[in-house]
Amino acid sequence: MDLNDTPEQAEYRTKVRSWLQAHRDEAPTVVGDRIEPEIVAARRAWQRRLAEAGLVGITWPAEYGGQGLGPLEQVITNQEIAAAGVPGIFDFIGVGMLGPTIIAHGSEEQKQRHLGPMLHADEVFCQLFSEPAAGSDLAGIQARAQLQDDGSWRVSGQKVWTTNAQFASFGLMMTRSNPDVPKHKGLTMFIVPMDAPGVTIRPLRQISGDAHFNEVFFDDVELPPGSEVGPVGNGWGVGLTTLMFERVAIGLGSESFGWRADRFAAALAADPGARSDAEVRRRLGHIAAQFLALRYTGYRALTALQRGQTPGPEGALGKITTVNAAIDAGELLVDALGPDALEQGEWAALISELPGIKSAGGTEEILRSMVGERVLGLPPEPRLDKGIPFSELRSKEVATA
């Protein structure tokens, strides 16, 4: 085992570090994930600076503005950005997940049009997958895309839990293009301009009172021919690519949220009573062990990635551990520091966000079922929707109810 850089990696790290040292004064000061317009503008400008320095899209092919490097260089970049105390990129969903999906499935025209502006945060992307009635059962989406005689499409429906929709120029949208086939087969992915007539974006307030997500309505929105990403009817396959990159992002960046054992310990250590309380220390030890396990599981995942293995569904376990350990940490902070910690201090917002984050990227229950079936090989739960055309499903559901 060896956690050291190779000479090439060390050289790369030095390069990244010196650039960041020379330019850190240009970075905006960011506390938490604030989304006031001036902060967002500053963060987008900072992403542009990072992109110009070659620090965005590290693993993207060079022909699309990336660096053509490996996951290790991405991790080194993340580490150095964190160590420099500057914010990372603003459009992590676009650069981390949606861009790579377009690289894998998009047309050459789409790649040339969208990837450069995405990298530089000139155009932010959002992910239009989840719907009010299709989250865990994502293939149950209802947003309808209908092909017109001239090859254009008309899209209607509703998406929800959309991060960055209010800042986005485009969205990657999963739609139902054919309701008369089983539900996984009739889906098509599109690139949708968020300023198209018929698109309405509304902020969605959460437990904290802030609106970090949106709901997005599509009312007979026209999309020009060639807006499809990947073949018509293969939206599910394209979406799986996005989810695979999401797992890579989680595997690479479990600490990039800044949820780390040492930081929770520092918050507790500030209170002398909490610091010397045996019960607090034991609970902190259990929480810290989870975060340390995540760090070294990340190194194992990285080793596998480096050897060319594709990240598998076991990555979902990391998300479950991350969220629950953070919930336990929030519990401990409030228990130790009192009700003030619910509204004040750097962890207050997180405590209110975590119940929702538990369902983000797949509810804990659906992730556990997926891991149980695909990693442990346990038999699937019997399903009532197999092989049934989507258009007949609803009536069957109503009949069962």
Partner: protein, 383 residues
């Protein structure tokens, strides 16, 4: 960056598994509870070269690292093998670090002709400034054995692998200073009371020392601290093996046992419980690798890494062995089934060497200490 086992390490683990597969260790664990002493597997361990894992090649050992020793313990734990290796390996770690140790003794320990056991002590921390050992009951701790000249008095309870050892490496104190003492187990004033509790495959002893004569080892207190954390990590390694076996057997059963016309593993409640075992098992594996890596390459993080591995072991072992019982329903709670043997192993192991609660406290202590060191470093830099 490479955070996986090397080919040699995988081979070492597989060879250990192969060696142990020739014996019905799990059945022997049950028979041991019924009063039949488990077969003596020490000669098998000697043939495999395990006693000399941490002793250098010059003295006939394998000259391997802490992670390698942990991998062998994963396999021992997987089949509940009753081999008094943990205490021996931890003791040889101290002897290997010491100067001037009799080469013949090291050679005899490397071949296994002689067996050692560590009488470990818990290193001080911010809230407790003395070296302590497990007392007879619960979380009760007492001071480590006291050394005056070449005499040691005191003792420790629940010492792993002490019965039958030829030599004892005792972590003691002279005043507040830690001292490592080497004692012949047969020396006057040394008493080891063999103690079997709940899991008959785990050799334990209460060690009493009454002005027993021994030799001071030329080694610092850091080696005694390292041995304490190595023992923690070896316990965590055993736990990983036991949890892997518990999960494997539970999953197999969940696929073949049917109720209401379905395999029980298709029910979400059963499936999610098994996935929780997997989650805890994989966290433990990462923490164990971290502990092995820290022991071999990153000594400044050994205390937090080994303690975190111990915490991870506690979480995985308790949950995993309880699932092993409950997935099997009523059958899993019968004497004939293997699950109760894993449950017994778990419940005893969790309480040894300070218990997992103590390890959790140590993780916190290390985090606080690191935070203060970082703050002092920043302040120093600013000044």
């Amino acid at each position: 960056m490479n955070f996986e086992l090397s080919d040699e390490q995988t081979l070492l683990r597989e060879a250990a598994a192969g060696t142990l597969s020739r014996f019905k260790t799990v059945a022997a664990a049950r028979e041991a509870l019924e009063g039949t002493a488990p077969p003596d597997l020490w000669p098998v361990a000697c043939d495999a070269g395990w006693p000399g894992l941490l002793i250098d090649e010059e003295h006939g050992g394998a000259g391997l690292g802490g992670l390698d020793a942990m991998l062998v313990h994963v396999e021992l734990g997987r089949v509940l093998a009753s081999v008094p290796l943990l205490g021996h390996v931890a003791a040889t770690a101290v002897l290997a670090a010491a100067s001037g140790v009799d080469g013949d003794l090291l050679a005899a320990l490397a071949t296994g002709d002689k067996r050692a056991a560590l009488v470990p002590a818990r290193p001080p921390e911010d809230l407790e400034e003395t070296w302590t050992v497990d007392g007879r009951r619960g979380r009760h701790r007492v001071g480590a054995a006291e050394v005056t000249g070449d005499r040691v008095s005191g003792g420790a309870s629940w010492v792993i692998d002490a019965p039958g050892a030829d030599v004892l490496v005792v972590a003691g104190v002279d005043g507040l200073a830690p001292v490592a003492m080497l004692l012949d187990a047969g020396a006057a004033g040394v008493s080891v009371e063999p103690t079997t509790r709940y899991d008959a495959t785990r050799s334990l002893g209460h060690v009493s020392l009454d002005a027993a004569a021994g030799a001071r080892l030329e080694v610092g207190g850091d080696a005694l601290a390292r041995a304490w954390y190595l023992a923690q990590a070896l316990l965590a390694a055993e736990a990983l093996g036991a949890v892997e076996e518990s999960l494997k057997r539970s999953v197999e059963y969940a696929k073949e046992r049917f109720t209401f016309g379905r395999a029980i593993g298709s029910y979400q409640a059963v499936k999610h419980g098994l996935v929780e075992v997997l989650r805890r098992q994989e966290n433990l594996r990462s923490l164990l690798y971290y502990a092995g890596f820290a022991y071999d390459e990153l000594p400044s993080e050994l205390a937090i890494a080994a303690s975190a591995a111990r915490v991870g072991a506690d979480e995985a072992l308790d949950y995993g062995t309880r699932e092993f019982v409950s997935v099997h329903g009523g059958i899993g709670a019968t004497w004939e089934h293997d699950a109760p043997l894993y449950f017994r192993r778990a419940q005893l192991s969790r309480r040894l060497l300070g218990g997992a609660g103590d390890a959790a406290g140590r993780v916190a202590a290390e985090l606080f200490a690191a935070g203060e060191a970082a703050a002092a470093g920043t302040a120093g830099a600013a000044a």
